[in-house]
């Protein structure tokens, strides 16, 4: 199992390198997270693997190889599905834990 995970990681890293060389977004070839944000009030995250914590002030989103944490006031998830999620509210901090 561990061997398989290691192999998948290597493939992802290799694909990432190729994508960087070709000047195309890494998220389009590997399943890494892609975040777009409008000011500090609307965030869209594509390529998540589910949420681990969700309150009015904090949201923790699991992504491939990292956890994205968003802090703020009055956070609310507008919608969520397999591909992505949309978050609104006053976002004060975004943190990546690799």
């Amino acid at each position: 199992m561990a061997k398989g995970k290691k192999k998948a990681g290597l493939i992802t890293r290799g694909l990432g390198k190729v994508a960087r060389r070709l000047d195309i977004p890494v998220s389009s070839v590997t399943r890494t997270a892609r975040i777009s944000i409008d000011g500090n009030c609307h965030l869209i995250l594509e390529g998540h693997e589910g949420i681990s914590e969700y309150t009015d002030e904090l949201i923790r989103i699991n992504c491939k190889n990292m956890v994205v944490s968003g802090e703020g006031n009055g956070l609310s998830m507008k919608a969520m599905n397999t591909d992505g999620l949309s978050l609104t509210g006053s976002i004060t901090k975004i943190e990546f834990s690799v």
Binding site: G50, A79, T82
Partner: protein
């Protein structure tokens, strides 16, 4: 907006999820294709989401796995409304009857509009249309537009083209009329050029024929300017079709008359409105006293047809009558004001007379005569005076 409407039509429920693993349940829903939105934490271990009814049915399985209690907080949408009112037979009957009535009423023509009349009157066209079967209240499927068009063209001689557009319950009839062609002497036929008006010739350009006048000479109306009869020693007398452009200075004197005193309306600000409904041809007044409310008043009638969705005209019109009270006042005409107003009117009349010509100079004079103001406009114009006429005499 559209999404909200679709959600309302499909029906949705606000669900409360209570438990220690609510986030896990949300993840399971997202990864198993259950659609949900508006996710809000309302308590320590309580989350509220909105989802479709079929989504709620599928969620129970995952709720059990994550040991979360799910409860419906609110139901909204058409399926729930239908369920709530399912025993109200009169309501459903009324709705069906209304739809059927609407469908039945929309199979008739309720309004006819005639567009493009210049020489003929809309009443004349309407009379012909009525005679051929297109009238208010006729069934739409009885009208064959192509047949009606052909019949109309043979019925009304003045028409050169007609289109009948039926939009919903409204019939738009667009007409184009025949224009009378001015009489012209055929190109090969000999003719003279005569003066159409009296004036002093300023410019002359003869292309065919022999000029009898020169620029600077005065001509009277009817004088032959260019003759089509040419005489030469070698060829003898021959007749040609004269062609020439003759521009002349002409003078006009136009009069306008206005009373020295006139009645001006001084509005008091009092207004009265009355409403009435017209069903087809029957009028129903929505007021009791039908006498005119003021001694002196302006009456404005506005008739508005009830239209649904631009093209669906209902056979009901709302008539609004507005009476505005005024006090008549006798006022003396102000000379300056009359002068400018009259000059403008007289110049407009002059431009109709000279047709394409230009006004070089003009002056206006105001005189008071027998209790009236007489305005005289003197104008010098530059216009085309050439007119073709058949050869009458040999010079």
């Amino acid at each position: 907006m559209l999404l909200k409407l679709i959600n309302f039509l499909r029906g949705n429920v606000r669900v409360e999820m209570k438990g220690d693993y609510t986030e896990r349940l949300i993840n399971m829903c997202a990864f198993n294709g259950i659609e949900f939105w508006d996710i809000k934490r309302t308590g320590n271990n309580v989350i509220e989401v909105t989802m479709r009814v079929d989504g709620f049915r599928r969620i129970r399985k995952y709720a059990k796995k994550t040991m979360t209690r799910v409860k419906i907080r609110k139901k909204a949408g058409v399926p729930f409304l239908v369920h709530r009112y399912r025993w109200r037979y009169a309501l459903w009957g009324g709705a069906v009857a209304a739809v059927l009535l609407l469908l039945y009423l929309t199979s008739f023509i309720w309004t006819i509009e005639i567009v493009g009349c210049t020489y003929t009157t809309p009443a004349q066209i309407m009379k012909a249309l009525n005679g051929l079967g297109l009238k208010t209240g006729v069934r739409k499927n009885k009208i064959i537009a192509s047949e009606l068009k052909n019949n109309m063209l043979s019925e009304v001689d003045m028409l050169s083209w007609i289109a009948i557009n039926i939009k919903g319950t409204h019939a738009e009839v667009v007409v184009r009329e025949r224009e009378e062609t001015p009489y012209m002497i055929p190109r090969g036929e000999p003719c003279d050029i005569v003066a159409e008006k009296t004036g002093v010739i300023s410019k002359m350009n003869v292309k065919e024929g022999k000029a009898l006048f020169k620029p600077g000479q005065t001509v009277l109306r009817g004088d032959i300017l260019v003759t089509g009869v040419l005489d030469s020693e070698t060829a003898g007398i021959r007749r040609v079709h004269s062609l020439a452009e003759v521009q002349a200075r002409t003078w006009y004197k136009l009069y306008g008359r206005a009373p020295e005193k006139y009645i001006r309306k001084k509005y008091t600000g009092n207004k009265k409105k009355r409403l009435a409904l017209i069903f087809g041809t029957t009028r129903v007044n929505l007021y009791l006293n039908s006498s005119i409310p003021f001694d002196f008043c302006d009456k404005m009638i506005e008739k508005e047809k009830i239209i649904i969705n631009k093209s669906m005209y209902l056979p009901v019109s709302v008539v609004t009558e507005t009476y505005t009270e005024y006090i008549p006042e006798k006022v003396r005409s102000v000379s300056g004001q009359i002068s400018t107003e009259a000059k403008r009117t007289l110049l407009r009349r002059l431009s109709r007379i000279i047709q394409g010509g230009s006004v070089k100079t003009s002056s206006c004079k105001v005189d008071a005569k027998n209790g009236a103001v007489v305005v005289t406009l003197n104008a010098e114009c530059l216009e085309e005076i050439a007119l073709e006429r058949g050869i009458t005499e040999v010079p």
